[in-house]
């Protein structure tokens, strides 16, 4: 039981980290890294904030718009309320973000240089990018700052940093379709939310957010978690902390914010009324309670009390019809968003669930959590269909790869396959294949007995009937859930990971401290030469162990066939 030293002595430096990993498609190479200035790292070691990342595809600026996107006309009420609260003057610019106001100019064209397909619509030779063109940006938070990096630039430093001096930014969301220019949402520790225009932030040379709309969560003074002894105020609003923000797909201007107290609030950007409203007291913390604001002008317009303890993450189905939440209580819940109704839910094996994500077709959901497992849920079956085993610590982000297509896509059979990824606090990136025609019912037995493929016959432990609407299912037993093994397990960072994104050209990973790595997908030429002599993952023996066991599982005790092209060495 000698410690199988995955990074043994604390992993001084990036020791033992490989700069590539292989999948059936070929070699993924570490292309470049992005991070904030090292000064922030020290600051962040308080451990209070975890860096999250959001990808923003900024479209070409629509013609006929002035250099400043129209500020929402209605914004003033909200802002002045904010100003009162913070004891500063009026108007959004008067809010003091970043005390000294030094304008570290977004220094010149060099930062934009090397951008792949970023037509910066050279408006003169002043060397100042005007960000009118389209571009892909990475938005990430660390400590009290929100950073923006140009994905296509090789520059490690962000092109823009925005200080939030009153409360740390914790989560963000971007809507490329936002009509009035406010496409970026930022949720902060105090429970408040800001909306703003990404382009406008990029264009402004200052270090504070500009022309934003501030949504104050007034409920924080009223609604204390009784189970915590009204501890909210004593612990500095820790229960109100924003955990996730999301635009509602297909509902222009609507967004939702989840909080650490188990509440989710719905906002309508166009509403700015500040009338007095109260949401009813939550009597039973464990019961779902949806309440609407009395005034039609007020924000937030609704509160959903979802669970006891924090909502850790939320995710809308691509069509916006369903909202999934995961939380401290270990449950995944799927709601019909329009009907405000629970469709189904289910529990982790144990511990909190920390992340969730939909497949692009909206048929499957992934979640991950403190049981070190990745759960795959089926919308059709309203239940869990598989557990992914392979992480050595908590799973912090999961995502389907929307750009991946099965190798034999020419065949038109119904072999639906998905590729998904997960990252965890074990510093690993895992990639998985999900082949749905192969999911069989209770299958893997730990003794190594060959699995019983009984897809057609419902078993006592595995009821094939779709559960009725609104039912939360308890934790399944370990042996009742089919298991998946990862295709690839790669230790990608020194620090625990917090986020994962797929783009058409790369896979992005971010660690809790705010270092982003961009892993370029294999080009087609590289794909031609499978090099079986190379190890798939890093040198640490722990990884080898994982691969060995997954290989074994794939061969004998799992019903999931590993694609033949997988390289296990």
């Amino acid at each position: 039981m000698a410690s199988v030293g995955s990074g043994g002595g604390g992993g001084a430096g990036a020791g033992g980290l490989k700069t590539y990993f292989k999948t059936p498609e070929g070699r993924h190479k570490l292309q470049y890294e992005k991070t904030h200035s090292p000064a922030v790292v020290h600051y962040n070691h308080s451990g209070k904030t975890v860096s999250q990342m959001t990808l923003a595809y900024l479209k070409e600026k629509p013609a006929g718009q002035g250099s400043t996107p129209s500020t929402p006309s209605a914004g003033s009420g909200m802002r002045s309320a904010a100003a009162r609260l913070l004891g500063t003057g009026n108007g959004s610019r008067a809010l003091s973000f970043g005390s000294n106001g030094t304008s570290r100019a977004v220094s010149g064209s060099s930062r934009m240089g090397g951008g792949v397909g970023v037509p910066t619509s050279a408006s003169g030779s002043q060397g100042m990018a005007n960000y009118d063109g389209k571009g892909t940006y990475i938005i990430f938070n660390t400590a009290d700052t929100l950073f923006i990096s140009d994905l296509n630039s090789h520059d490690k430093d962000p092109i823009k940093s925005i200080h939030f001096s009153s409360s740390n930014p914790l989560c963000h969301a971007f809507d490329p379709e936002a009509k009035d220019g406010h496409d970026l949402l930022v949720g902060v520790f105090s429970g408040d939310v800001y909306s703003m225009s990404l382009r406008q932030q990029l264009q402004d040379p200052g270090k504070k957010p500009v022309s934003y709309q501030h949504f104050i969560n007034k409920d924080k003074d009223k609604d204390k978690d009784p189970s915590q002894g009204g501890a909210a105020s004593r612990h500095g609003f820790i229960w109100l902390r924003c955990t996730c923000v999301a635009w509602v797909p297909g509902h222009e201007g609507f967004f939702v914010v989840s909080h650490a107290d188990g509440n989710l609030y719905v906002y309508d950007k166009s509403k700015d009324g500040n009338t007095d409203w109260t949401f009813p007291t939550i009597k039973d913390q464990s019961q779902l309670l949806v309440s609407h604001a009395k005034s039609s002008k007020a924000n937030p317009i609704a509160r959903w009390h979802i669970c006891q303890g924090a909502i850790n993450a939320i995710s809308f189905s691509p069509d916006g019809a369903y909202l999934a939440t995961v939380g401290r209580d270990g449950y995944l819940r799927v709601f019909d968003y329009a009907k405000e109704q629970l469709i189904f839910g289910g529990k982790s094996y144990y511990g909190a669930l920390l992340c969730c994500s939909w497949s692009t077709d909206g048929k499957y959901l992934l979640s991950g959590g403190e049981d070190d497992l990745v759960q795959v849920w089926s919308m059709d079956d309203r239940k869990i269909v598989a557990w992914g085993e392979g992480h050595n610590s908590w799973v912090s982000a999961v995502s389907f790869d929307p750009y991946w297509s099965p190798p034999n896509s020419d065949e038109t059979e119904e072999n639906v396959m998905y590729r998904f990824g997960s990252v965890g606090q074990d510093t690993q990136l895992l990639l998985w294949d999900l082949a749905l025609d192969e999911i069989a019912v209770p299958l893997r037995h730990p003794s190594g007995v060959s699995p019983t493929f009984s897809s057609g016959s419902p078993s006592a432990h595995w009821d094939n009937a779709c559960p009725p609407t609104g039912v939360l299912q308890p934790s399944p037993r370990m042996r009742d859930v089919p298991k998946l093994s990862p295709l690839v397990a790669h230790r990608v960072h020194v620090d625990p990971l917090s986020g994962l994104e797929f783009t058409s050209e790369s896979i992005l990973t971010i660690c809790r401290e705010g270092l982003i790595k961009i892993w370029a997908r294999p080009s087609h030429s590289e794909n031609q030469q499978p090099d079986s002599s190379e190890q798939v993952v890093g040198s640490a023996s722990a990884k080898d162990k994982i691969l060995t066991s997954s290989n074994k599982a794939g061969a004998s005790s799992s019903s999931f066939k590993q694609p033949s092209s997988v390289l296990f060495t």
């Binding site: 199988v4 604390g10 002894g229 070190d372 050595n392």
Partner: protein
């Protein structure tokens, strides 16, 4: 025969001011204690004078748990290892209740000699019977008894909280077993001392008898399969806690998985197979045979480094969930546990530092730092996971984790089938 009268009022509640004085007196050993806690001590005193309620009582407000008491324990010079474990045991409700029940039954027994158990029972009953809801108590006689009994804890050095927990539980078991064998017929086989995980004293001939066993004891089966003759040698090993090796950036789940994983015995570490009558290569693994009611997990953060010829503290980041299931591959043994106490070691090395306990009581988390008790949010527990880099400045690490069983009560008496529980 230091009997009854002495037991009741000893060191009732020392006023906060006295505690404060003591704090500065014992200051040398507690360099790590933060200024913040000293400041909050002052705040406490102010609070008592101001409103008649302690800061903690005000923190609870009208939610102060009925009949519950929250007392800090005075430090007698590096006795934080002891205080943190005592607090964890106090809020281990079944243990406390059974101890107090025992105390109720036994305190009037004539000729009762003072021992570690009576001292502990005394201390616990002083706290639970206190008129005040919060305060500070001096576990003086208990500490004296510990020092009398065990040379190891006699000095004023920093000690290991896990070793103390082991010592305490085993000592209590010894006392209880002696008492019961004295009461019962003398033919009772001499009780064996149960020690930590890898007990060397083989199979117990009797079922666990004391309430300490009922709370803390689980049984491991140590299975060794000779790779030559395929014979499986199984040996049951009772345990009070599991000591698990830790890895950087791993979870408790993963550490437990490693604990229960199969190990190959070869080279210098071959296994003597009784059937082959020779040293053979073998596969060894641990299985859970019986799960404990209270699962105590000791993270082996103090590792002996041969090159340095001393122990080193591993600051690895090991995340521990608030809920846990024990599965040991025997998949129908999904016994669910809930975290209720964490003994935290503060400091960079094994021979220095400080211990505090973070404890859940009536759904509230509290921090017990010697004489200081305060309410903390649940999320504070995240700050004791450890660090993903060796030198990070954060030296507060979860060291002993206490989980209580919350489910599978129906299958409570049903033990996990020894073969791993697979019934295809």
């Amino acid at each position: 025969m230091m009997a009854k009268p002495a037991r009741s009022p000893t060191a009732e509640t020392s006023p906060p001011a006295a505690a404060e004085k003591h704090r500065s007196a014992s200051g040398s050993g507690s360099g790590l204690r933060s200024l913040a806690s000293a400041a909050s001590g002052w705040w406490d005193r102010w609070g008592v004078m101001g409103s008649g309620l302690s800061k903690l009582e005000r923190a609870f407000g009208d939610q102060f748990p009925e009949g519950e008491r929250y007392f800090g324990l005075e430090n007698f010079g590096n006795t934080c290892y002891c205080n943190s474990v005592l607090q964890a045991l106090y809020y281990c409700t079944p243990f406390r209740e059974q101890l107090l029940e025992y105390y109720g039954k036994n305190r009037n027994v004539e000729d009762a000699e003072e021992n570690l158990l009576t001292c502990l029972a005394d201390l616990f009953s002083q706290i639970s019977a206190s008129k005040k809801k919060t305060g500070v108590i001096a576990p003086k006689r208990f500490i004296q008894m510990v020092r009398k009994l065990n040379e190891y804890f006699r000095g004023y050095m920093h000690q290991d909280a896990h070793e103390f927990l082991n010592f305490l539980l085993n000592e209590i078991v010894d006392i209880l077993e002696k008492e019961s064998s004295a009461k019962d017929s003398p033919e009772t086989t001499s009780p064996e001392k149960v020690s930590n995980g890898a007990a060397d004293n083989g199979v117990r001939k009797e079922a666990p008898i004391t309430w300490v066993h009922k709370n803390f004891q689980g049984t491991l089966t140590n299975e060794t399969r000779c790779l030559m003759c395929e014979t499986i040698t199984a040996k049951d090993e009772p345990f009070f806690d599991l000591s698990v090796d830790i890895e950087q950036n791993s979870s408790l789940t993963s550490c437990l998985k490693n604990f229960f994983s199969t190990e190959t015995l070869n080279a210098d570490d071959k296994f003597f197979c009784d059937k082959c009558c020779s040293l053979q290569e073998a596969e060894k693994r641990m299985k859970i045979k019986e799960v404990p009611q209270i699962l105590v997990i000791h993270l082996k953060r103090f590792k002996y480094i041969e090159q340095l010829n001393r122990h080193k503290k591993l600051s690895y980041r090991v995340v521990y969930p608030l809920e846990l299931k024990l599965s040991n591959n025997s998949d129908d043994a999904d016994c669910e546990y809930s975290l209720f106490a964490v003994v935290v070691h503060l400091g960079s090395g094994p021979n220095q530092g400080h211990y505090v306990a973070k404890i859940k009581s009536h759904d509230h988390w509290l921090s017990f730092d010697d004489d200081n008790v305060e309410m903390i949010p649940e999320s504070t527990l995240q700050t004791f996971y450890g660090s993903s880099r060796e030198y990070s400045g954060n030296t507060d690490h979860g060291y002993i984790l206490f989980y209580e069983r919350i489910s599978g009560k129906h299958g409570h008496e049903k033990t996990v089938s020894p073969d791993g529980g697979v019934q295809p």
